[in-house]
């Protein structure tokens, strides 16, 4: 009888043993080594063990009797130290065992982040039963656990410890949880569900050090955050365990290289499981490992077989979080998305279609159709016929309905249309038949589409079906083609539904596209900055180039640089620094702007940070000449020099600019302050203008001198500079909070009416004060010089080309 030695008693080798013994129980005399002092158990069920939903005994797949009954010589808790390929002997800590065939199933080892404190007691990984028991032992109710890694394993560990009463924080390096399996939208729903059960999630968190003297006490992040911890679990990934194979001089890439037959570079040595590399690919999920096990058994019995990796599907084993992902759902050549969102019920479904085939699926909240979609992906089924209704799942298929109205028509009266208010189709039909012939009437009588409004389109379709041709749908244009909501609806819903991220808005308001478009993304980014200044983090990638690069792009791709000149006042030192910068960076044109400052035109992108640093060194900051925000405060010289001046208009302009600079707004904001009614600063065609008179200050708003030319309208007159500052900051805050993106102040005032503005900031002093306070809260975050931040040495690399191949030979 031939001798087979197996190193590693994990799930892959366990399954290979089953296949082998089933096909031919007498083919080999088998010796099974395992470093862990136990046999094969279902490793993917460790999470229910950790959470207390299952016991270890329940997840054992092969107990001692199983091995004994099959004559397998088990060497558990006996690590293999060396393979002698020449004499075909495997050496463990207690001696040698000869083999004819050897199967390596050494699995993988958890990756340990090389930070200080990684060896402290209380730091563990999440890989085997010992790790799990360590976590269970530490899991005293009220104790603090930090999980590093927001992937599948990390989240299961977090949920398990949380169920055992611990306070759990998950730190994830990337921008969203499970970034390899989920897109940002599904990830948002997952994070919301985890947070709802009390798990804190910190994305974009890079671990700097693990702190503690005798045992772990805290985890420190690069961004300065510190989380107290009684236990730290690292779940940041695994790497194939290849040490034995390396020492035996087998071919090893990232894993042990195997052929389609699972044979290594030595024809008598096979490998299976997480330790192998097949066609440059590694394997971590269980399905392909079981396929490999089948091939291993066949090869050992000299039967032809070849391993072909198939698509895999992922499910998170966290009770209450239903998510499923399968196939390939990255953006790619010629791919199309079908997206379905039901905000009321927290459902997100996304299908990725290439040509006539479904190639990927991400489901959250309702994963019932996951297996069906997975089948379509695996079998490469042609889905042309059911494309339009594919997302509704198998129960919808059969009738070839291409008209979306037909799908609505086919819905039974009990079908839910409005998830927020639980309104079914029959109720809407009844209301329409009883006389409700407008959307408002239906909303009033049934509440359908009166909450988040996402189902408005569906409600209108039901109305159209019931009323026939006489019903005309709402003509108010939506924000962009990604949504049915208007800008106004979106602003409102961001506030009332407390939406604090772009994925949150897109999910809860039922965005029809995956990542929005160049029109809605900057708008959403602004709305979130404006409404949640302390919580929301500006998304640079959702900004138009000028705001992303803090300079104005020109027609040839160069930029213009405008340093701030407070109130249009400068000094010889500043002028020298500007001249020096113009010389140093070969600026082709230096021009005086209409906003009383100096524009350096034609600067190359890669020179921007160095030029900013030079200007910063001379005390100048960004003039925000590129922003939807405060641009300039134009002034005249006022009482300081002018024989007609009534007040210090220059000083007031400078003080206003120092109050307002750095704030973002729906569109650009320009101010003017004139020292007397001769109005040399042209204040009465600005967004906000101040004209000084002997008895005080006249504030007027909503002027324009662009495509439209308008004179400002009188807002109020005040007696002191302090009042000027408060009224103007409050007015601009009201504009920031209410206007739609890209609407200048004059357009916004035309919509809401000047009387409404007066009521907000002139008549109601408490409201004015509250607006002013909210403006200052926002300024505490946003009044920073972006040039200084982006000119820092660690930031400069991103302004250069990532590579220069211009010197490489063409061939």
């Amino acid at each position: 009888m031939q001798k087979l030695v197996i190193i590693g008693a994990g799930m892959a080798s366990g399954r290979a043993l089953e296949y082998l013994l089933e096909a031919d129980p007498a083919a080999y005399k088998i010796t099974l080594f395992n470093a862990e002092p136990r046999g094969n158990y279902n490793r993917i069920m460790l999470s229910p063990v950790l959470s207390g939903e299952k016991s270890y005994e329940e997840i054992v797949t092969h107990d001692a009797d199983w091995y004994a009954a099959r004559g397998v010589d088990c060497r558990f808790g006996e690590p293999v130290v060396r393979i002698d390929r020449t004499n075909k002997v495997v050496y463990s800590t207690s001696g040698g065992v000869p083999y004819d065939k050897l199967l390596l199933a050494t699995g993988s080892a958890p990756f340990i982040i090389p930070v200080s404190g990684k060896d402290l007691p209380g730091v563990c990984t999440y890989r085997d039963l010992d790790d799990t028991e360590k976590m269970i032992a530490a899991a005293k109710p009220g104790a603090k656990a930090v999980v590093i890694g927001g992937g599948l394993l990390g989240l299961e560990a977090a949920a398990g410890m949380q169920l055992r009463g611990m306070h759990v924080t998950v730190i994830h390096l990337m921008g969203h949880l499970m970034d390899r399996q989920l897109d940002p939208a599904a990830s948002y729903l997952l994070q919301k569900a985890l947070e709802a059960r009390g798990i804190k999630v910190h994305c974009k968190g890079a671990t700097k050090a693990i702190l503690g003297t005798d045992k772990v006490e805290a985890v420190a992040l690069e961004d300065g955050t510190i989380y107290g911890a009684d236990l730290v679990c690292m779940a940041v990934g695994i790497r194939p365990e290849v040490r034995l194979a390396n020492d035996a001089h087998l071919d090893v890439g990232r894993g042990i290289t195997v052929s389609d037959q699972m044979v290594t570079s030595d024809p008598d040595i096979l490998a299976v499981g997480e330790c192998v590399e097949h066609n440059k690919q590694l394997f971590g999920l269980v399905a392909p490992l079981y396929d490999q096990a089948k091939i291993v058994a066949a090869t050992l019995l000299a039967k032809p077989a070849a391993f072909r990796p198939v698509q895999t599907a992922t499910k998170l084993k966290v009770t209450g979080c239903d998510l499923f992902s399968a196939g390939d759902f990255a953006d790619g050549p010629g791919r199309e998305d079908i997206v379905f969102r039901n905000p009321g019920r927290g459902i997100y479904k996304r299908l990725v279609i290439e040509g006539d085939h479904l190639i990927g699926a991400v489901l959250y909240g309702d994963t019932a159709d996951g297996a069906w979609f997975f089948g379509l992906i695996k079998d490469a089924t042609n889905i042309t016929e059911m494309r339009d209704t594919l997302i509704f799942g198998p129960s919808f298929q059969g009738g070839a309905s291409v008209d979306p109205m037909a799908a609505v028509a086919a819905l039974p009266p009990s079908a839910e249309i409005c998830g927020c208010n639980g309104v079914c189709k029959g109720k809407i039909v009844d209301a329409v038949l009883a006389g409700a012939n407008s959307l408002d009437l239906v909303r009033g009588q049934t509440k359908a589409s009166s909450s988040c409004g996402t189902c408005t389109g569906l409600v209108e379709q039901v109305m159209a079906l019931t009323l026939g041709g006489s019903f005309v749908v709402n003509t108010n244009p939506p924000m962009c083609k990604c949504t049915d909501h208007t800008h106004e609806d979106v602003r409102l819903l961001i506030k009332t539904m407390v939406l604090k991220s772009i994925p949150a808005v897109m999910q809860e308001l039922g965005w029809k596209t995956v990542g929005g478009c160049a029109s809605c993304r900057p708008a959403l980014n602004y709305y979130l900055i404006s409404d949640w200044p302390l919580e929301y983090q500006d998304d640079r990638q959702s900004r138009f180039v000028n705001e992303r690069n803090h300079a104005n792009i020109q027609k040839d791709g160069t930029y213009s640089v405008v340093p701030r000149m407070w109130g249009g006042v400068t000094t010889p030192t500043e002028l020298r620094a500007i001249a020096d910068a113009a010389d140093k960076y070969n600026v082709p044109m230096v021009k005086v702007t209409g906003g009383q400052r100096i524009d350096l035109l034609g600067v190359k992108k890669q020179d921007l940070p160095a030029m900013w640093a030079d200007l910063n060194a001379a005390g100048m900051v960004s003039g925000h000449a590129y922003s939807k925000g405060l641009r300039t405060v134009k002034t005249c010289v006022g009482t300081e020099f002018c024989r007609f001046g009534t007040q210090d208009s220059t000083g007031l302009g400078i003080r206003l600019e120092k109050l307002l600079w750095g704030s973002w707004s729906p569109a650009k904001v320009k101010l003017g302050v004139s020292g007397c009614p001769r109005n040399c600063a042209e204040a009465t065609c600005k967004d906000v203008g101040v004209v000084c008179v002997d008895s005080g200050y006249e504030i007027s708003v909503a002027g324009a001198a662009g495509m439209d030319v308008r004179e400002t309208e009188f807002l109020c007159k005040v007696a002191t500079e302090a009042e000027v500052m408060e009224v103007i900051a409050a007015f601009i805050q009201s504009y920031r909070e209410n206007a739609r993106y890209l609407h200048r102040i004059y357009k916004w005032v035309a919509k809401v009416g000047l009387d409404w503005c007066k009521a907000q900031v002139v008549d109601d002093l408490a409201n004015r004060r509250a607006l002013y306070d909210r403006f200052m809260v926002s300024q505490s975050i946003y009044q920073v010089d972006p040039w200084a931040e982006l000119a820092r040495p660690d930031q400069r690399g991103q302004w250069q080309p990532m590579a220069d191949l211009s010197l490489e030979a063409a061939e």
């Binding site: 921008g175 970034d179 897109d183 940002p184 990232r254 440059k280 759902f329 990255a330 953006d331 790619g332 050549p333 010629g334 791919r335 998305d337 596209t513 995956v514 990542g515 929005g516 478009c517 160049a518 993304r521 900057p522 640079r540 990638q541 959702s542 900004r543 138009f544 180039v545 992303r548 690069n549 792009i553 027609k555 040839d556 791709g557 690399g797 991103q798 080309p801 990532m802 590579a803 220069d804 191949l805 211009s806 010197l807 490489e808 063409a810 061939e811």
Partner: protein, 117 residues
């Protein structure tokens, strides 16, 4: 007989993490700049950094899905095919690029063909 496979010469131009998700970076070549994009789902594409309309730097556009909107006049291009979307007619050259072990590899032979074209 195996089908003819065109030769490729992949060159390492940097790490995936050198590009922000939904962002782009430029690679200088002897034949002009190539814009290398990273999508929200970590797909990578390489196209000419030059809009056929008025020469805008596409690397500075807003990336949404697998598309980019030119920063100068808002033409939209499919990153995979280089085709202009919607009513606009035009196309930019695309280059073979892939990610391996976190590194971005660009096909220099497809660049060389650009010079020949």
């Amino acid at each position: 007989m195996t089908a003819f496979t065109p030769p490729v010469a992949m060159i390492d131009i940097g790490a995936l993490t050198d590009i922000a998700p939904q962002g782009a970076r430029v690679v200088k070549t002897a034949f002009g700049c190539v814009a290398v994009f990273r999508t929200a789902t970590d797909e990578v594409f390489a196209i000419d950094d030059l809009c056929p309309h008025r020469g805008g730097p596409l690397s500075e556009g807003i990336v949404h899905g697998a598309r980019v909107t030119c920063p100068l006049h808002s033409w939209v291009f499919d990153l995979a095919t280089g085709m202009a979307q919607g009513a606009d007619v035009g196309q930019v050259a695309t280059y073979a690029v892939r990610v391996e072990a976190g590194r971005i590899l660009l096909d220099t032979l497809s660049l060389a063909r650009k010079s020949a074209a």
